[in-house]
Symmetry: C2
Subunit: 336 residues, 2 copies
């Protein structure tokens, strides 16, 4: 089934069930008011939401209305956890190669992950508000899952069973703040402003056989200012699957219902064409494009985003239909 | 006023108002069910809680009962943000000096801060469950604040006005996981298991004139296995006050109601006694004691915590009364 959260002026919004084709929606009133409430008691509430989803798909839901992604908050407008992995090691390899650094061997067995802020998550069409263009504004197109409760010490296989929903994410990064911040040794903080999520969160069964072994075998499309810059395969180059990422968190603590876990920038390996390395599938973040340019030509030439720029992130199923709806945001200055 | 959250089997517990002397409590039913609900609508709800607090202190609350810290969850059993500073630079200086490293000049003007997990916070008497003693189990005695909404770009003075409540925290750390984790460059993750908080969260006015300029000028007591090891002054050596810490978060994003912001390990400067540096006020984490031993005698000799060890953290007002109640935890292995 497909779930979304409509803005209603409250902090957690109103849970709605969305039809498979994203054309209609129905308030989940009487079942659960918010998505967190549904996740807190999933085994009891999910079947009721599923019944409404089926009715809605058949055009039989009595108070259905046209679904409008612009009305959406993030599926979880605030969450108790947002932990973002960097599961596509190819992305790490590219960025490191461009600055002449090696990838430590442990990176292939021990996932990179950072704890992100989750008190203020952005809806799919909300502006990305940044204090200054000089901070180096970049998008990062990712896949994310929402978990149920996962016990401490869970294996990757056990952790994978904790996946309740999938979404797309735009993990906005302020690239020019990162070097100083990471040099301090405590990880990202100011370099990671609020993250945006797709209009709709879907249960894994909505992906059909594209959801295999904790990976999504579909193409993630990124369009920057209307120009398609990324058509990356999310499946094959994901070094760590979502069960491994969740188990990484659960190594020393419990993971509680409503935790969001991200894949990191989706990235594909390059191919040699006429004696030169090319990345025909494009890129899911500008930093990676700049790394590619550096490897190809010795220096980056693509600049980061400017105020007024737009970014659209979407994934389509094998039937060509949008699965999650599109993240579609504009970069905006902070109004003083 | 003083607020706590009683365990009731639900994920967010039940909000209770606690008398100033911590002897009695009263459910806040009819005003707000949970602390997050109160924080979400603070200007409307806080005065009603305050009225109940006054009635309770006068012994006039009709359904008051004896307050029992063992019944408490963390004031926020799960939170939308837990951001922990390292505001006592003396702690950083000591730990770095012990390993022969300098403190970068920027550390005195730009706060160190990490984003912690907040989906599973521990009550004051909950066990600290750790998979293995070999992970190097340490306590960290800290002060933490809970914020209201703070806009992006807030100054430290504006941010300080966002402080709603204060608590004590035990930011448990797994010291032997830290070197490898920080070497990966993305900050703490597995090395920071669930954090515990004091039974009671208090409004700043409960601290009287000990709350000055965003700092708490009182002594933080830490007892390890019943032996007092820390009597650290929380005020004078706090390099960054809470307004500065909150403003650090708000630099590139909004800070939303119910965010918890920590001070980092409370730490005091050493004094020279008979030609040797001494730290007569003790320590608020074992890592600091080991750094002191290394500086004094060339090597650490105090070992980290073992299963069955206890840690008690408390702060008393100038009248000798416990302000927040005590964090009183035992270290326990993960049951398989």
């Amino acid at each position: 089934m497909k779930l979304a959260t409509y803005k209603d002026g409250s902090r957690d919004g109103q849970l709605v069930v969305v039809s498979r084709d994203l054309s209609t929606a129905h308030y989940a009133t009487g079942i659960a008011n918010t998505l967190q409430q549904a996740l807190d008691d999933w085994n009891f509430i999910a079947p009721q939401l599923q019944d409404l989803f089926v009715t809605l798909n058949h055009g039989k839901a009595r108070h259905a209305f046209a679904f409008d992604p612009k009305m959406c908050a993030a599926p979880l407008p605030r969450a108790f956890q947002w932990a973002d992995g960097s599961a596509y090691i190819n992305h790490v390899e590219l960025v490191r190669a461009a600055r002449g650094a090696e990838v430590p061997a442990s990176f292939y067995t021990d996932p990179l992950m950072y704890q992100g802020g989750s008190d203020d998550l952005l809806g799919p069409c909300d502006d990305v508000v940044v204090p200054s263009e000089a901070m180096g504004i970049d998008f990062e197109a990712e896949i994310a899952v929402v978990t149920g409760d996962v016990p401490m010490g869970a294996t990757p296989e056990q952790a994978l069973e904790g996946v309740r929903l999938l979404m797309l994410a735009n993990d906005v990064s302020l690239r020019n703040l990162i070097p100083n911040e990471l040099a301090k040794g405590f990880g990202f903080f100011q370099s990671k402003p609020a993250t945006a999520f797709s209009p709709v969160a879907v249960t894994p069964d909505e992906l059909g056989d594209a959801w295999v072994g904790g990976r999504v075998h579909l193409t993630l499309h990124s369009s920057w200012n209307g120009r398609k810059v990324g058509m990356c395969d999310a499946g094959p180059d994901m070094t760590f699957h979502f069960g491994q990422l969740i188990a990484h968190i659960a190594k020393t603590r419990r993971v509680r219902a409503g935790s969001i876990v991200g894949s990191g920038t989706v990235s594909n390996q390059g191919v040699e064409q006429n004696g030169r390395m090319e990345w025909p599938k494009g890129y899911s973040c500008i930093a990676e494009k700049r790394a590619i340019e550096t490897l190809q030509d010795g220096a980056p030439k693509t600049e980061f985003m400017k105020f007024g720029d737009t970014i659209r992130i979407e994934m389509k199923g094998k039937d060509g239909q949008s699965i999650f709806g599109a993240i579609d945001q504009e970069i905006a200055p902070l109004a003083r």
